[in-house]
Amino acid sequence: MARSPVAVILGGAVALAVAALILGPLAAVLWHAGGAGWPSPSDWSAVRFTVWQAVLSAVLSGALAIPVARALARRRFLGRGVMILALGAPFILPVVAAIAGLLALFGRNGVLNSALAAFGLPGIEIFGLHGVLLAHVFFNLPLAVRLLLEGWRAIPAERFRLAAQLDMPPGAVFRLIEWPMLRQRMPGVLAVVFAICLSSFAVVLILGGGPAATTIELAIYQAFSFDFDLGRAATLAVLQLIMVTVAALLALRLARTDGMGAGLDRPMAIWTDRPGLRVQDAAVLILTALFIAAPMVLLVIQGLPALVQMPAVVWSAALTSLAVALASTGIAVLAGLALALPRRGLYDSIAMMTLAASPLVLGTGLFLLIRPFAFPGNHILAITAVVNAAAALPFVLRSLAPDLHATEDGFGRLADSLDLRGWARLRWLILPRLRRPLGFAAGLAAALSMGDLGVIALFPPPDTATLPLQIYRLMGAYRMEAAAAASLLLVALSFGLFAVFDRIGRHADT
């Protein structure tokens, strides 16, 4: 099916729909404003800060992910499966919950500062640029690890066996086998993390410690809500789009798509081991596990006591969120597959744009577009499902595309010679080899949709709510403990969805 006319047309149609979903509302806001506005000097400093922290966050997350992913790829240990699964957790954590977890670990009354104080050592301060970076690494390091781990998995085990037979030192293994894979995957990983951090809003403001840490999204908020300058808000939204698109295109250019060649799909084995490597891998894995697990454990401790007396509305909101999440997973996976199959860079960049879409501008634009025909508040759950699906698309694509390329590069000629085309090629060659990334992608899409507050915050329906909205409502009504418990429920459900889909994918080992 890949590169068949049907695939190209279908992919093109989906790409067009995604572009319309992002650009249509933007155009509506511009039209309503009667033209673009010019950003103020403080907006420009917000743009500079946003790019700077996003670049730092991407580089840090990507660099730290290399040793972690490699250690995970070459070691077999008890709990490895659990660790890989748990790596999905931080990324899908709702922002409120993640900040609470990080503060419980690194905050003034946090575990770390209490421990330091017990030893008579000075405390650490989390607020500032380093706090923002810490949070962004916490969110994105696991994502980067998962994406790179798939890269290591895609290297045929025969390569490493050959390296072991030739008694290659680790440096040579890295240069000859791992570097080409990283060269291919890393630009995409960096671009995704950069784009995520570019539109980060609450994390940056809260942990950044003050107005010096102002992001474009807050500048948009100010232009819109404080100054009611729609033109300026739209201009800033366009700037954000351009930056992410440039990053995506740059990533595509840098990522050389020469495949690893095909192997026999043997699981990777430990090749020539050295004690130094063993210690290094153990240290890397233990530190990562602590960094990822500690905030989550603290969240559980905080939320557990109030879990028993949660208001009934929380449960109904949880059901609503589940329905929305499943609907948007279906949309995201089908659309992602349609975009990935034609293997066109342009489609990839279009999907990446959704990462940079400002929820405020998107929501307002949708409101302006829908308002003449219907009351947006009446259809907010459907709108939320579609917008959440679009937001998950880049991750779906990012996890599907490399394996699709590898499959086509490795087996495409054989399939061609067998005249395996169209649906049959999809059914017998591509889907079986994509089951693992498909499961991962569906899990991510479901969990992200579950945890995302999204556009519903702009049109909160009085008679119903999603779980994230309900958490904000509880907090707004002073019910912080109930909110903490509801956050825990949200984390459990998001992670549960992710785990189920991911497990389906991973247990489909060929």
Partner: protein
């Protein structure tokens, strides 16, 4: 026959709809949730109006005004409820509001005469902390102390903007210096009230910008008297929340009746323990227990609404310059 029954049903249904006029009240989200005043006010008003009150919600007061501006003349709102005195000038400028005719014996700390907006509750911004901790008595003492405070961003939060105007109203040209002195006390700036208040409860800060009425929640709902508001001797900034009828409404009488109901004892007695603000008219039964021993500022500060737009832009620049260094 079957078609006839269906047709009759449709006609009856249409008549039933026609007989029950719908009053669209735009408000902010927390007002209409099950913990807010919304449900009780809806029930009370529907019992007397023979109408269907429908809440349409936006995120907060500022979002409410934005929504109204986006919809313009075509808005379906009959009443807009939840603007505050920092937004009324901009709201008035839209020209979308009708004159109001409600008269009531308001218990506001200032004289209220407004031909457009009806006040329904009010409160003072204040720093809230723990009862046993040191209590700086003004901004300068706070700046000199080692107290850690968490505040909200004026660009995205109502209390955040309130603090900006509070310091500007109290200190005028010295406001930038006050902010500069406060800088090392400010732990961080959050997008909204909820995040800041949650961080304070978790012990991340000693003080949080909130309302003098916040301790009443802990006393009444949690029987916890450990939270107190700090009285500041330069006075406290006042927030009055108002509602107004929309001029283009197809239910002008109902809209006015709703504004009158809002100022009535039935609605006002619901406000304190649902919106955690002072009611605009003291209920016949008096204020609830937790409200009677709250801090009452010696002086109320309020920037006249016409001066707000220019003042907040200048104050925002000063705030940003002082805290960005």
């Amino acid at each position: 026959m079957k078609h006839l029954i269906t047709a009759t049903g449709l006609v009856l249904a249409t008549q039933a709809v026609a007989e029950t006029p719908v009053l669209n009240v735009y408000t902010y989200d927390s007002f209409a949730t099950e913990w807010g005043p919304g449900p009780a006010i809806e029930e009370g008003f529907e019992a007397q109006c023979g109408c269907d009150l429908k809440w349409v919600t936006a995120g907060d007061g500022a979002a409410l005004l934005s929504r109204l501006r986006l919809e313009g003349e075509g808005t379906e709102a009959d009443v807009v409820l939840g603007l505050d005195t920092n937004l009324t000038a901009a709201a008035r400028d839209t020209g979308l509001f009708a004159p109001q005719t409600v008269s009531a014996d308001y218990a506001l700390p200032i004289a209220w005469s407004d031909d457009t907006f009806v006040p329904f509750d009010w409160g003072y911004f204040a720093f809230v902390g723990n009862a046993e901790d040191p209590k700086p008595a003004n901004f300068r003492a706070l700046a000199d102390s080692d107290r850690r405070v968490v505040i909200q961003d004026p660009r995205s939060s109502t209390p955040g903007l309130g603090l900006l105007l509070w310091i500007k109203a109290a200190y005028g040209d010295e406001a930038p210096q006050v902010w500069a002195d406060l800088k090392d006390n400010i732990v961080t700036v959050t997008p909204g009230w909820s995040e800041a208040y949650g961080m304070f409860l978790d012990g991340e800060a000693d003080l949080v910008l909130s309302y003098t009425t916040s301790p009443a929640y802990h006393v009444i709902a949690e029987e916890d008297a450990s939270k107190v508001a700090l009285p500041f001797d330069e006075g406290h900034y006042l927030q009055v929340e108002v509602a107004g009828a929309v001029a283009g409404s197809d239910q002008p009488e109902l809209a006015q009746a709703f504004l009158a109901y809002l100022a009535s004892d039935a609605a006002q007695s619901v406000i304190p323990t649902t919106n955690w603000m002072y009611p605009a008219v003291t209920p016949e039964g008096g204020l609830p227990d937790g409200f009677t021993d709250l801090v009452t500022p010696a002086k109320s500060l309020l920037v006249p609404e016409g001066d707000v737009p220019a003042m907040r832009d200048a104050a925002l620049e000063e705030w940003r310059a002082a805290l960005s260094q």
